[in-house]
């Protein structure tokens, strides 16, 4: 009887495959640029940035607004017991710039865009379109993976800014109504509490999450097996893997940051 490989071995195999996907995509794009050509079609890149960025603004704004609002309301009521509701702007500001903004945006983009990338590339894989591109010598990695990964890599930090801004707006609105904190005081207190270090940490995390989502979703799409059911399974797996990996890397980043800066 054939023994199934251990989960650790399978995970390591997938991890190394994702790393090789990144390396080979870079090599294909580099080779192309060395020959004086654009690494990929910019029309595809802009199409993907539009889809990832502009297309996600409404979702990110709405969800972040509600989370910011709820967070301010619930923490405010608890802090009010000790007469410390003035801490709400700082609390929401720090939480979102450093942690919740990148994390929530990463999760939403993994679900919205990562799933779309996997389904799209998966369908192309099962209908042999990806193989046909490869057989023509075009290089499916630079042609299909390059623009998608770069789009989500560059656009995720932009969406995090949108997320932070709308979350703060929701928090400011509820703070004005429930705790009588004027907008100007809310903004001043929030800005005073936030540290450049937190904003930088949040931004670095956003780029990293973008890269993870792009690579995981493209990898899952390119390795689909088994027709329509395979595409469905890969899409589910892509979303679950991307979200889990994003949360895992977020934890890792936090441990490293706390160890480095002792906060």
């Amino acid at each position: 009887m054939q023994r199934s490989p251990s989960p650790i071995r399978t995970t390591l195999q997938h991890l190394s495959s994702v790393v090789w996907l990144l390396v080979d995509t870079g090599k294909e794009m580099g080779d192309r640029m060395m020959r004086g050509r654009l690494p990929f079609r910019f029309s595809i890149f802009f199409e993907q940035t539009d889809r990832t960025g502009v297309g996600s603004i409404a979702l990110i704004s709405l969800v972040s607004f509600f989370i910011g609002l709820t967070m301010a309301l619930l923490t405010g009521y608890q802090l009010q017991t000790f007469g410390q509701e003035r801490l709400v702007p700082g609390l929401v500001g720090i939480s979102f710039t450093r942690e919740l903004g990148p994390l929530m945006t990463g999760i939403m983009i993994a679900a919205r865009i990562g799933a779309a990338y996997t389904a799209e590339l998966g369908t192309m894989t099962v209908s042999e379109e990806v193989e046909a591109i490869e057989a023509m010598g075009i290089g499916p990695l630079r042609f299909l993976v390059g623009p998608r990964v770069l789009a989500v890599f560059f656009l995720l930090p932009c969406l995090v800014v949108v997320s932070n801004f709308t979350a703060m707006s929701g928090a400011a609105l509820i703070s004005r109504w429930a705790f009588d904190i004027p907008f100007t005081r809310f903004i001043d207190t929030a800005l005073d509490s936030m540290l450049i270090r937190d904003i930088i940490a949040g931004t670095i995390k956003s780029f990293l999450f973008g890269l993870i989502i792009g690579l995981v979703s493209c990898y899952k799409g390119l390795t689909v097996k088994g027709g329509a059911a395979g595409v469905g399974n890969a899409t589910t797996s892509s979303v679950v893997t991307a979200i889990t990996t994003v949360i895992g890397f977020d934890t890792l980043c936090n441990i490293v940051l706390v160890a480095l800066f002792d906060t």
Partner: protein, 259 residues
């Protein structure tokens, strides 16, 4: 078929296994320049896999595949991409890019791999579409085309770069006899017009004998016969004879299937 220095493609003791399942077990094959080699064999017997080995999409677990003297099985990804520009592949289900129009499907390799102007590309696209009798389909999407039309577009895309080697995967499978004959004639005329070597994988005997200048039979992971179509027709190999005649009695159904 003997190895000649003028071989376009050569396979030496090629083995391929997926896990414990052995698909090919010691393929030796040599395809002369400008030949039209038809590879016969049962469905699921590894014929299409042979084409993928030539393209370098799959790598043999043992043995060597060469194209024009260059070892495909040891090439880097980037060198493979350059080599593939000299090879045209026609897929069984066409594999047209569903999000691109017929014109864009044909123009794709030209736009990505050459520095030709838009006018030159359009001219080449029209020329190839004319050749396969599909000039009217230029602005259609693949979903708007029938199976036979798609196949012809796939063929036009396969020859758009004027390749030195054209690989056909079941070119006439599932088509009506008329369209099937049109495809067969196209294969012959393309081979004569552009002087390319052709490797055609099929299990359709009529098509095979119409287009072949050379034939090989893949059975249980090895090439059991390689000869001219005339000799193939009169082969005394029981497997070849049964396959050509399409009879139920014989060694093919009796032999244990390879797993």
């Amino acid at each position: 078929m003997n190895t000649t220095p003028a071989s376009s493609v050569e396979m030496k003791d090629v083995h391929l296994a997926f896990g414990e399942k052995e698909i090919l077990s010691g393929i030796n094959l040599s395809v002369p320049q400008k030949a039209r080699l038809v590879i016969l064999g049962q469905s699921g017997g590894g014929k299409s896999t042979l084409l993928r080995l030539i393209l370098g999409i799959l790598r043999p677990t043992k043995g060597e595949v060469t194209f024009k003297g260059l070892t495909v099985s040891r090439m880097s990804r980037l060198r493979l991409n350059r080599m593939r520009q000299k090879i045209g592949m026609v897929y069984q289900y066409s594999a047209l890019i569903s999000s691109l129009s017929v014109r864009d499907n044909l123009a794709l390799p030209l736009e990505e791999l050459t520095r030709k102007s838009r006018d030159e590309i359009d001219q080449l696209v029209d020329e190839k579409l004319e050749l396969v009798g599909m000039a009217d389909a230029r602005d259609k999407m693949p979903a708007e085309l029938s199976g036979g039309m798609r196949k012809r577009i796939g063929l036009a895309r396969g020859i758009i770069m004027d390749p030195e080697l054209i690989l056909y995967d079941e070119p006439s499978a599932g088509l009506d006899p008329v369209i099937s004959s049109v495809i067969n004639e196209l294969i012959i005329s393309l081979s004569e017009k552009i002087g390319a070597t052709s490797i055609i994988v099929t299990h359709e005997m009529d098509s095979a004998f119409k287009v072949a200048t050379h034939m090989a039979m893949l059975y249980q992971g090895t090439i059991i016969a390689a000869d001219t179509p005339e000799r193939f027709k009169n082969s005394d190999n029981p497997v070849v004879a049964q396959f050509i005649a399409g009879e139920t009695e014989g060694p093919i159904l009796q032999a244990p299937q390879k797993t």
